[in-house]
Amino acid sequence: MTALRTHLGISLRLHFRNKMALIYGYLFPLIFLVAFYVLYRFEKPPLLRHMGELLTVAVLGGACFGLPTTLVSERERGVWRRYRLSPVPTWQFVASTMLARYVIILSAGLLQLGAALALGMTFPPHPVSLFVGFTFVAFAFIGLGLVIATLADNVPAVQALGQCIFLPMLIIGGVAVSLASLPLWAQHVSAFFPGRYAVEGLQACFTGRGFAGMHFSLLALGLIGVAGCLAGAKLFRWDAQQRFAARTGKLWLLPAFAAWIAVGLLAEWRGRIAIPVDKEIVAPATAPAPVTPTPIIASTPPPVTAPIPPARLLTPPPPDPVWMKITPQDTAGLDYHVPPDQGNVSPFAAIDEDPEDFMKEQVTSVRNKIATWPPGAEGDDLRCVRNLLYVAAVPDAIQMPVERYLPRVVYEHLISTYPKEKLTKILTYIALHPEEGMVVDDISDLGVEGTAGDPLVVRERAYLYAIKFIARLTGRVPE
């Protein structure tokens, strides 16, 4: 144990003396964090919905690049050959190296978390689950790092192999690009990548149910980690002269990749390919408390004629619509600093702006159907207006080409349906209580296909459109 402890201590010390390791291990994840902060600057609280992605990127970099680079460069120098001459078994050095890497990755994760908190993010509601989840993610990717170190004969090969895993995971694996904005085939492919489960598992600790919402992710990551460590340990090379091509026992690689396939097939079998929707969304700490306890998310519009759930029967209906209490002061007190109409977040076509030809069919379909669309036409006014806002918000959350034209359709429908004062009050109420009500994240009945993955994003966009509509209704923004 003395050997393991000393080796662990020296490994950590050497890591902190290596400038390149510090840049890759700490600076790059922070650059990602700042980039996300700027990109999603209108989200409140900031970064909360992206910590799964950010922490996964930090772990991926540390485990799939940092670990194999260290192992392979030490092997090339003959350090591992020198270790081999000692009476300490090789597995102890490997275990110590893995443990050191875990500590390094954990410190990078804590740095990211600290930076996010400093930028205004709320404290994660499930810190213990986050620690457990982070450990599983690190374990899975450290196993992968060991496999890369086994496959790579030299450091440039580590970089090449790492990129082969890193980039697909970022782009179609759900790590850097929201799965909801990807085609269905990419969502199927992502089920075979550990990055997806890393993001899902970690994100559940920030905006989901914590441990209760990450069982499958932990199972997937654990399986992938065990298989990677097994293959990495069995094929471990301590001598640079042992080329991988001449190595015996290459079949030990099979478990590592079989685990990815097994996890993907299991996800397919359990119907987990479609973007999972959290059943219990934690309200942002800075948001006002909900008036009615209805934090339910639906992936399809709730049927108006559906029987009322038993829980609802216990809640007496409010004597007057809650939005009636809204005053002009409430409307004036809203924060009107919203993204510009020409930007990527909550875009809003000008009144004389026509959609391009290929979008006209969708816009016309929505324009024709919106008046009779049940979620926007039946039931109480508050719910109808909220659901209509989602018609603008969902395409924006998915970043569909038509996203900038539908808000105009919704706005025109609203002002032709509701008196101006009433509409202003309802929209103000929604802007003050963005977390209430059900999220409608599927508007295919209106002729627009696509499902938004993160209901919090949809709520946020609905909030932004409510503000933009109010600004027009009250003359703050001239039409």
């Binding site: 020296i10 010390r13 290596n18 120098r77 003959g78 001459l85 009476p87 001598d239 002269q241 001449a246």
Partner: protein, 320 residues
Amino acid sequence: MPAHVVVRDLRKSYGEVEAVRGVSFKIEPGEIFGLLGPNGAGKTTTVECLVGLREPDSGELEVCGVDARRNPREVKQKIGVALQTTSLQDKITPREALRLFGSFYRDRVAPEVLIERFALTEKADACFDTLSGGQRQRLAIALAFVNRPQLVFLDEPTTGLDPQARRELHAAIARMKADGYTVLFTTHYLDEAEHLCDRVAIIDRGRIVAEGRPRELIAQSSAVQSVTLVTSRPLDGAKLAALPGVSAVVAEGTESRFQTSHATATLGALTAWLGELRTEVVELRVKKASLEDVFLKLTREESRAGFSPPSNEAEDQKAG
């Protein structure tokens, strides 16, 4: 006291290539034993089998009274090794490296003692990438002493060092002998083997072709003497080789080098021949055989015997 190293019929192949073909030798306690041979001869493979880096195909290995094939971990507690190409992490300091490697053993020497002994005091807390070649090699040898070893393996420790650093290492090895350590030492610098080793074994193409004290080996081939001749005109090498006792002729311009097993007869015939050619002798040196001459003679004989030499690459590509 039993021998510190006993090797019997050691064999090791890499695929089709037999790198070591039945090597046997013994090293007595307190001896400095040199294993000599050209590149690819099998000396590094032999050492690697002894220190537990390679699994032999067959043969018996006993190190410090322990069966090295059955109990390599126990052997590693008793030996120290300085490899030919030891390199450490760029940012580790000699003090840290000595503490780290010391922690691997039951019995260990304090880093400060080794730092002083191997003249690393000035650089004790400097990063490895700032050390000179000689300092790195002294550190590599210091690492071999962290566990108070009974037996030390030095694999070509002076390769690539400048003359000053080589001289310092020779002094360090001489001190090991004075301190009573047993040392197995591989090199292809035959002058240092002749100077430092109590006994040597010459290994060529996986076999030991000669073994004994350097002076005994030289004496055994004392019939061979080296001659260097500079004349006023170039000589015909073929005719020079035809003189009595002459072998290994190298004629380059007016300088000719050869060996002779009968110096008196050769010089007599040479003088007569030069007289006939009316060629003047500018310089003539006759030197007794060195270990290098013995080595060259033995390894050339092996070559003439028709062995198909394993390529250097074969030994370099040690698998598994």
